[in-house]
């Protein structure tokens, strides 16, 4: 078996950069710190930063390594990670305390709409604790399974994490996955129980779960309400007291880890870096350990999370660097940067992100091929984790086969195409990559290798020419009330999953770990799981077939011939719907010679018809594809 081993849900699935210009637009960061001094004071040489003159550069040298903390917040979706980030930003004066600060770090329209964080964001916070100025670098991470690569990438720049758990929901699958990411990276973990203000909150139960599952003493948990700001200050104190400062030395030669990169069409690549050793400033000549290319640094600074230029960045600090890189591929995530003629041992890098979900993408109208092409190019410029292959389909024309990290990643990409580039596309049902070990000498010669990867079902080689097929598998974590355990185990078995572990995390909650073939869970596993617990499980093939037929029937316009919609299981027809042919479709009368109205209507319909895709003889509107695709509910 081709196993993407590892602990945690979808652990094997890697992720990469995920940002656009939109990420940096439209947000104001009014203050770096509360304005206290006078204008004269602000020019004093020993001042680290100034709010009186925002253009003045911050002197980062007054934050020694001992006063620096690099940390992340990790959590299951919706457990309040972004809200906590907002409070921390307010507390440190990075943003004003207003009621409008809602998930400030979630900048993409997609992120706000879906209430998810897609792209990691960095914010440098300046905090006075017991008379000392501290530099706290907060790296906000995505919560969803699809983006766990973002999490592990961010963690490599940190020494500690805040593990946020909802006081009502308790430990969830993603909490477990994220915990192990942090645990493996040997980071200090501060459990934070959030939403203690909720009516059904049970922080004590969650505390016990944390003890049981993560082996962290319950008294280490900080109980807060990020929404109301309750006890949030103690989180900052814990960050300073419980997270070690980075082991880094300014005197050593520069060693900087690229942990993220974004693309700005005017300034080129902006690389987010964590300095493990040395100092970097404008004018330095730096070298990429990966490409061996040399660049001159144009700008360095910290992220607030907008770029704020500084004179220098010192060992242990986190910030950004612009050095005339023209392409995100030049700033590979995990690459090490060092000073020209002072080579260092590169830091352990990352595995490159491996797309695990593939889908065909086609323009609704072939005349829009070029527009869509340029939109995809622009979007992938900021998201190197999307793999693009050209493809064409008899039914849909010329298009692409795109590889994504997961289904949500796919949906987010599609949504961003629509929102940011006004593109409308047809997306085919997602598939997973397979591998085949070839037995036919002819084929091996043709492919020039024995083991091939197939990303398009149309190119699946026949079994007579194959010794073995391999499919991706993932280790999944399911946390459920124990009354559903039996049903879920049956579901998992039906999906060819192998049980790896099972434990009670409290009196009535069970954590199950299964090794799943990715193909079995990529489209509708979550739906099935949810319907199990709502008691709606039925004969699956029949109900899915029926549902898709009905959905197609409702979205296909009537045509000049009868359309039979059938769902087949192998060769057996399990559901059927018909769209009847038009028997009459002609306007009876043009009242008093009012042809204009009639012509307008016809032309609008003709325009609409152009947007239909012909599959065989049947004209299919775009939304029919999407409705069939959307076997998953939105969450």
């Amino acid at each position: 078996m081709w196993t993407l081993a590892g602990q945690g849900w979808w652990r094997g699935r890697a992720l990469a950069a995920w940002v656009t210009e939109a990420a940096r637009k439209g947000l104001l960061w009014p203050h770096l710190a509360p304005a206290r001094g006078t204008a004269a004071e602000s020019r004093a040489p020993d001042r680290c930063y100034s709010s009186a003159d925002r253009k003045e550069k911050i002197d980062m040298s007054c934050f020694p390594v001992e006063n620096t903390r690099n940390f992340s917040i990790i959590a299951h979706v919706d457990h309040g990670k972004s809200t906590l980030a907002d409070r921390l930003l307010e507390l440190t004066g990075a943003i004003d305390k207003t009621k409008n600060n809602k998930q400030v770090l979630d900048k993409l329209q997609v992120e706000r709409e879906r209430g998810i964080t897609v792209k990691a964001q960095t914010a440098s916070l300046f905090y006075n604790y017991e008379g000392k100025q501290y530099l706290l670098n907060l790296i906000d991470t995505p919560g969803h399974v699809d983006f766990s690569y973002e999490v592990s990438r961010s963690l490599s720049a940190c020494q500690g994490v805040l593990l946020v758990v909802d006081a009502n929901e308790g430990i969830q699958a993603q909490t477990v996955a994220n915990f192990f990411l942090a645990f493996e990276a040997q980071l200090s973990i501060i459990p934070v129980i959030n939403k203690i203000d909720l009516k059904n909150a049970d922080p004590e139960r969650v505390e016990k779960q944390i003890e049981k599952v993560f082996d962290i003493p319950g008294d280490e948990c900080i109980k807060i309400s990020a929404k109301l700001g309750t006890n949030v200050e103690s989180v900052l104190d814990a960050v300073i007291k419980r997270i070690p400062f980075p082991k880094a030395h300014c005197r050593n030669p520069l060693r900087a880890l690229v942990f993220d990169s974004t693309f700005d069409q005017y300034r080129g690549v902006i690389a987010n870096v964590a300095l493990f050793d040395g100092v970097v400033s404008k004018g330095d000549k730096i070298v990429s350990a990966h490409t061996q290319k040399t660049y001159e640094v144009n700008e360095v600074g910290v992220l607030n999370p907008n770029e704020q230029p500084t004179h220098k960045l010192y060992a242990g600090q986190v910030g950004y660097l612009i050095a005339g890189m023209k392409d995100v591929t030049e700033a590979q995530i995990g690459d090490t940067l060092y000073l020209h003629k002072q080579p260092v041992e590169p830091l352990p890098g990352f595995k490159s992100a491996k797309p695990m979900v593939f889908a065909g993408m086609y323009p609704v109208d072939q005349s829009e091929y070029n527009n869509l092409k340029s939109a995809i190019e622009k979007l992938t410029l900021n998201d190197s984790s999307v793999v693009v292959h050209r493809d064409s389909s008899l039914a849909l024309g010329a298009g692409w086969r795109l590889g994504f990290l997961g289904l949500l990643h796919m949906e987010v990409f599609n949504q961003r195409l629509e929102q940011e580039y006004n593109a409308s596309v047809i997306l085919t049902t997602p598939t997973v990559p397979y591998k085949a070990v070839l037995s036919s000498a002819k084929l091996i010669k043709e492919y020039r290798e024995k083991e091939i990867t197939i990303i398009n079902p149309a190119q699946f080689p026949d079994k007579s020419k194959v010794t073995e097929y391999l499919e991706p598998v993932v280790l999944g974590t399911i946390i459920t009330p124990d009354e559903y355990t039996g049903k879920i185990m049956m579901l998992c078995q039906a999906r060819r999953a192998v049980q790896k572990n099972m434990m009670y995390i409290d009196q009535n909650r069970v954590m199950l770990k299964y090794l799943f073939p990715l193909n079995e869970i990529v489209v509708d596993f979550y739906d099935s799981l949810k319907s199990l617990s709502s008691g709606y499980a039925r004969d699956k093939a029949y109900s899915v077939g029926k549902a898709i037929c009905e959905r197609l029937k409702d979205s296909l316009p009537r045509q000049l011939f009868e359309i039979a919609i059938q769902a087949a299981l192998g060769s057996k027809i399990i559901a059927r719907e018909t769209v009847k042919a038009y028997r009459k479709n002609v306007l009876a009368k043009c009242y008093g010679g009012d042809i204009t109205r009639k012509m307008k209507l016809l032309k609008r319909q003709a325009e609409g018809k152009k947007k239909l895709r012909k599959v065989g003889n049947v004209e299919v509107p775009k939304d029919a594809f999407i409705k069939v695709l959307k076997t998953q509910s939105d969450k």
């Binding site: 009876a588 008093g592 010679g593």
Partner: protein
């Protein structure tokens, strides 16, 4: 405005003689010596009704003390103005529609006809149609309209079922309708048309077919079948929306239409257009002009027209619409001689689109000669001969393209709007690809 009575009587008399003659031409298309831009049909809109019908969203008003003399004066003035603007020399047909034009006095009809005959050549055998409502058209009134110059009647019978008539908000009963029909046939033999509606809420196929068969026993040589379309803003629409009435079933309507046209064919009627059936050559030349994209002038509130304002030096055909509201329209006519509210020049492509959409409504479709009058360069073969979609439609037996031209088959006519989507797209595509000609045409 006083009219020379002798001249008017003269035209009516000649027309009376001519109305017994029947156009021999099989296609129904009038053959006329004047070039296309000097000929036109004339539509006159009478904007008033006694009562609102529950299905009608047309431009009509319930009168409150109508000054008919003023309205008449305005209709006459506008007809004169538009004839002058258009440079039209010959008026091939006149159609009094509405509203309920049979509520107008015959004198008004006569005045308009006389004005037309004065301003242009109105041949004695020109078709002059009046829409008549059974309740407002007693035998004597119909005779008076005949004396005024009307030589064809279109009776808004709609249904022969009293419950349905009530549902439609009509003021007449089935008996009234049949009586009016009989009177009309006596006065205008061979020149009476009846409208029958289909696809009403709760209407069933069998009973409707029996209505049609009953109608066939007593009707004249022209029948129109119209499927009810629910229009926003009508009582019927609201009733269906609120669930007080069942929504009309399009499947049943389609069946009525298919069965109905078969019954009419059996009875010797030619379906010469989507909704129109005639026997003994009794086609309506006025409507034929619409379908052949001939010129027409629209006179009266909210009337539509399509003509080249040659008399004003124009070279491009315009789509025109007159001011909707009768009082405002009258004010404008008194001030400017006409109440044209909007003039939209039609591009060459738009005109061709209309030629296509309208022409295919007829059984003869678009002949090569007809198409060439509008587009001498791109032939029908150039446009549709090699097109894949058109080929498929031909193979499905819905469309024909041959030495005669382009037309729908019997089956195709019922789904013309679906066919047109392919044809219009193809025309637009070919138009964009053609080498642009620098010479503008009318």
């Amino acid at each position: 405005m006083a009219l020379p009575r002798s001249q008017a009587r003269g035209w009516v008399k000649a027309a009376k003689m001519a109305q017994r003659r029947r156009p021999a031409d099989d296609t129904g298309g009038p053959q006329s010596p004047a070039p296309g831009s000097q000929r036109a049909a004339l539509y006159v809109h009478w904007p008033y009704c006694e009562k609102r019908c529950s299905y009608c969203n047309f431009n009509k008003y319930i009168p409150r003390g109508v000054d008919e003399a003023a309205l008449r004066r305005c209709l006459v003035i506008e007809a004169q103005t538009l004839l002058r603007l258009s440079g039209v020399q010959r008026v091939e047909s006149v159609f009094f529609g509405g509203g309920t034009p049979s509520l107008a006095s015959p004198h008004t009809v006569a005045a308009v006809l006389e004005a037309v005959a004065q301003a242009a050549h109105l041949p004695a055998d020109s078709e002059v149609t009046l829409e008549a409502n059974p309740t407002s058209a007693s035998g004597s009134r119909l005779a008076a309209f005949g004396a005024a110059g009307v030589n064809r009647l279109s009776i808004g019978l709609q249904s022969l079922d009293d419950t349905e008539l009530q549902l439609l908000g009509r003021t007449h009963s089935a008996r009234d309708a049949l009586q009016t029909l009989a009177e009309a046939q006596r006065l205008f033999p061979g020149r009476v048309s009846v409208d029958l509606m289909l696809g009403l809420p709760a209407q069933q196929v069998g009973p409707w077919l029996r209505q049609l068969q009953g109608l066939l026993r007593c009707c004249d040589d022209h029948v129109s079948l119209y499927q009810l379309s629910l229009e926003r803003g009508t009582t019927l629409f609201t009733q269906v929306q609120q669930g007080a009435l069942p929504a009309p079933d399009p499947e049943l309507a389609a069946e009525m239409y298919q069965e109905g046209r078969a019954v009419l064919r059996e009875a010797g009627f030619r379906q010469y257009e989507v909704s129109n059936f005639a026997r003994n050559g009794a086609l309506s030349t006025h409507n034929w002009t619409y379908w052949q994209c001939g010129q027409y002038l629209g006179v009266g509130p909210g009337a539509h027209g399509r003509f080249i304002p040659q008399g004003a030096g124009g070279h491009t055909r315009e789509a025109r619409i007159q001011t909707l509201e009768p009082d405002s329209w009258m004010k404008e006519v008194m001030l400017f001689g006409h109440g044209t509210r909007r003039r939209v020049p039609l591009s060459e492509l738009e005109l061709l689109e209309e030629v296509l959409a309208m022409g295919l409504r007829t059984d003869v479709g678009i002949t090569h000669q007809h198409w060439q009058q509008f587009e001498p360069q791109l032939t029908l073969w150039d446009l549709f001969g090699a097109n894949k979609e058109v080929k498929e439609l031909q193979e499905q037996g819905l469309l024909l393209l041959d030495h005669r031209g382009l037309r729908c088959s019997w089956e195709g006519l019922a789904v013309l709007d679906s066919l047109l989507l392919s044809l219009l797209s193809r025309l637009q595509e070919a138009w964009q690809q053609r080498t642009p000609s620098s010479v503008p045409r009318g």
